[in-house]
């Protein structure tokens, strides 16, 4: 057995270190470390409840709208506020824009550059991949980053600015869009759809979403010239469709909540099994291997955050969230699987697990579905009506739970208020689930499991397969321990 520390692990969000035990050319065990702690849950205590709308989004500059939405949902639950329907639609549009920006940035800027590595020189597909996807100089990032910037003009209209907006309030959103703004919004979205279809899918969104079987996907991959079919061909050639297996269960809190429920349903599923309802009361955060003071595994509504860097068993600032005592995988692949998206379900049933390929593919499937959803939300705005409920929001003593989906998966905020001040604020972020350390029973977190069996050759520290597996989760380490 050889021990290797991999880090700094870049092109992920924030600081990540992975410790590998390897033997016979594969990973035997992995331990995942989040080496940064900023203390948001401590900083929030003692403040006025509404100040969470300023502090909590700043956990993360990548998914600040998601953090806002979770804080808003928790404050809405606490105060019993009913949001204006236009505000819900506008917030969903902004949230979708952020999540899509994340998915695209991850695909082109974070994930694909590994295929341009010299490790693959000699492969028939390598010269084209290097030209297209090389870090910094690749043609794909030069095309996608301006598309991302234009997409984020949605934030200028709805959110004032991005990241870190205060437009998302329990009563709705703070800027009532007028007819001109609505037309500008529709124009941004039209531009985005055209760019996404041209650069990433190579086909209209509707045609892409008609692909429902592994066979049809293979035909699409073979015929297509855009970046997603390009990835699928490389993935098949490099074995990414067998790499980084996540046996589940997969969990989603449900995404884009509106008057008719969630666009993507919440729940629980196994790769080879059907949907089950989710009971968020069964969540508990285990502290046994975190750099936290010892304590029982507690539901976040009762949880504590007291760091202890000298904890002997600790190896990460991340706690280990568990559902019914089990680690669960979250993210776009979980969201689409739980919602029953046919292609993602078909691939998971075939493979019996999530893989590097399905995680990447699910983000683009989700983006395609969001293109259609946002078009509907823009149409559904009723410009004669308010965007923010007129009633003053009052926060009495009590508790609130805000469960939303960020790009990377299930995000929960739990707030308790007493005497007009925040008494407890606990956050469980998507990467806290995926990159959690072991729990008291010794069960590894999802990435720790998915890395086992990854081929590393004789240089585990430079193994490109490890890079693929880790990045396939699109981790956000700044969210993880916050």
């Amino acid at each position: 057995m050889t021990r290797t520390i991999v880090g700094p692990f870049n092109r992920v969000e924030g600081d990540l270190e992975v410790r590998l035990e390897t033997g016979d050319g594969v990973v035997r065990e992995a331990r995942v470390t989040t080496p940064l702690y900023r203390g948001f849950e401590q900083i929030l205590v003692g403040r006025a409840p509404a100040d969470a709308l300023v502090i909590a989004p700043r956990i993360c500059g990548i998914c600040s709208v998601s953090q806002s939405m979770a804080a808003v949902a928790a404050l809405r639950a606490l105060s019993g506020t009913v949001a204006a329907p236009n505000g819900v639609l506008a917030a969903n549009i902004a949230h979708a824009a952020e999540n899509i920006a994340d998915h695209l940035t991850h695909f082109v800027v974070f994930f694909m550059p590994d295929f341009a590595r010299p490790d693959y020189a000699g492969a028939a597909w390598h010269p084209a991949a290097a030209e297209r996807f090389a870090a910094e100089t690749g043609a794909a990032s030069a095309e996608i980053l301006p598309v991302r910037a234009r997409l984020l003009h949605v934030m200028g209209l709805i959110a004032g600015k991005w990241p870190h907006s205060l437009a998302f309030q329990p009563g709705g959103t703070t800027r009532a869009l007028d007819l001109g703004a609505r037309m500008r919004l529709a124009g941004i979205w039209r531009d985005f759809r055209a760019a996404f279809e041209r650069i990433v899918l190579g086909v209209p969104v509707e045609d892409f979403l008609a692909i429902e079987t592994a066979g049809a996907l293979a035909a699409y991959a073979e015929a297509g010239r855009a970046d997603l079919p390009h990835f699928l061909r490389i993935a098949a050639a490099t074995g990414c469709d067998r790499l980084g297996r996540g046996p589940g269960p997969l969990m989603s809190f449900g995404a884009y909540h509106g008057e008719d429920g969630a666009l993507f349903a919440g729940g629980l599923t196994e790769p080879s099994d059907g949907w089950r309802p989710l009971d968020p009361d069964r969540i508990a955060e285990d502290l046994s291997h975190a750099w936290m003071q010892d304590g029982p595994a507690l539901h976040p509504a009762r949880g504590e955050t007291r760091p202890d860097v000298d904890r002997p068993e600790g190896y990460s600032f991340a706690k280990a969230p568990r559902l019914d005592g089990r680690p669960v995988e979250v993210g776009a692949v979980a969201r689409q699987a739980v919602d029953g998206q046919p292609l993602i379900r078909a691939l998971l049933e075939r493979d019996g697990a999530t893989t590097v390929t399905t995680r990447i593919l699910a983000r683009m499937v989700e983006t395609a579905r969001l293109v259609l959803a946002v078009e509907g939300w823009v149409r559904a705005l009723d410009l004669r009506e308010a965007f923010c409920a007129p009633e003053a929001v009052r926060y009495g003593d009590g508790a609130g739970e805000g469960l939303v989906e960020a790009a990377r998966g299930a995000l929960g905020h739990w707030i308790a208020v007493r005497g007009e001040r925040i008494q407890r604020y606990q956050i469980v972020a998507p990467t806290t689930w995926n990159f959690s350390p072991r729990d008291a029973a010794g069960r590894p977190g999802p990435l720790e499991q998915a890395l086992v069996g990854t081929p590393v050759g004789d240089q585990p520290g430079r193994a490109v397969a490890v890079q693929h597996v880790v990045r396939s989760f699109d981790p956000c380490m700044v969210c993880t321990a916050h």
């Binding site: 880090g7 870049n10 924030g14 940064l36 004032g160 870190h164 009563g171 703070t174 009532a176």
Partner: protein
Amino acid sequence: MADRSTLLWLQAGSCGGCTMAVLECGARGWSAELNAVGIDLIWHPSVSLATGAEVIERLERIESGAEPLDILCLEGAVLCGPNGTGRFNRFAGTDRTMLDWVRALAPRAGTVVAVGSCAAFGGIPAGDPDPTDARGLQHTARGPGGVLGTDFRARSGMPVINVSGCAPHPGWIMETLEAVAAGLIGPGDLDALGRPRFFADHLAHHGCSRNEFYEFKASAERPSDRGCMMENLGCKATQAVGDCNQRSWNGGGTCTDGGYACVACTAPGFENIRGFLATPKIAGIPVGLPLDMPKAWFVALAALSKSATPKRVRDNARADRPVVPPGRGPGTR
């Protein structure tokens, strides 16, 4: 430009938001933009290929002086806790803290740029009770100092340039880097807190689309009202530096145009405002008045302007859209 500059970008106690902002720069993407202004990116945690040992070796070469470095950007607060050890933020893959790395690398840099209010002053992580002892490079939330100390000067002789903001405007970051690379920024181009004057010589209030409401003290009362947000909704735009409302964000937005208060995110200590969305008052008069306005004058002028407010302005201030259009007739008193 004959000479090119090298840039190393590190993240300490950060949310990554400054990087997310700067990625909006450039018609052909940020990498092409850096290249075009003569900056060679040695390493950035979000965009570079190099990982693990390759990176550490490179940083060690810079630390030893074997490889020169022109610009060091730090995003995120430097976490000094617990007990001065810096162990709340270890640089992954090394046994060293980011505090240690920053102190080792900053003296080697031609110019040091703090990107964002965290690296400049401590930012949100320094919020009470400041659980990680978070500080900026050359300032803290409470005053000068920071982890490099008041007397720190980079090789160029410049103090740390503080591109504050949470997150800063992408243009503030990129134009600063470009000016540094071009050798066009000197100590006189910074304000007393080390912020580039091209954005810090303005107030966020300048160019605010609500200025007519401000003039007449026609105030918003609820979120999404169109009136001035200073009197009731906590807006600090008359006290916070930034050309936010002159250049605008994300294709045309700003905080105040977006319908919510300026929280003074470019200022040290903004994180400890209590009640961001409400205006503290004594005897009905806001405590935080415009930076350079005598209180008595403000009170007198406010009373006068309130008495002269046109009906259009008064009614529109308390609505989420214009309810009285400009023009003679219904708009007059």
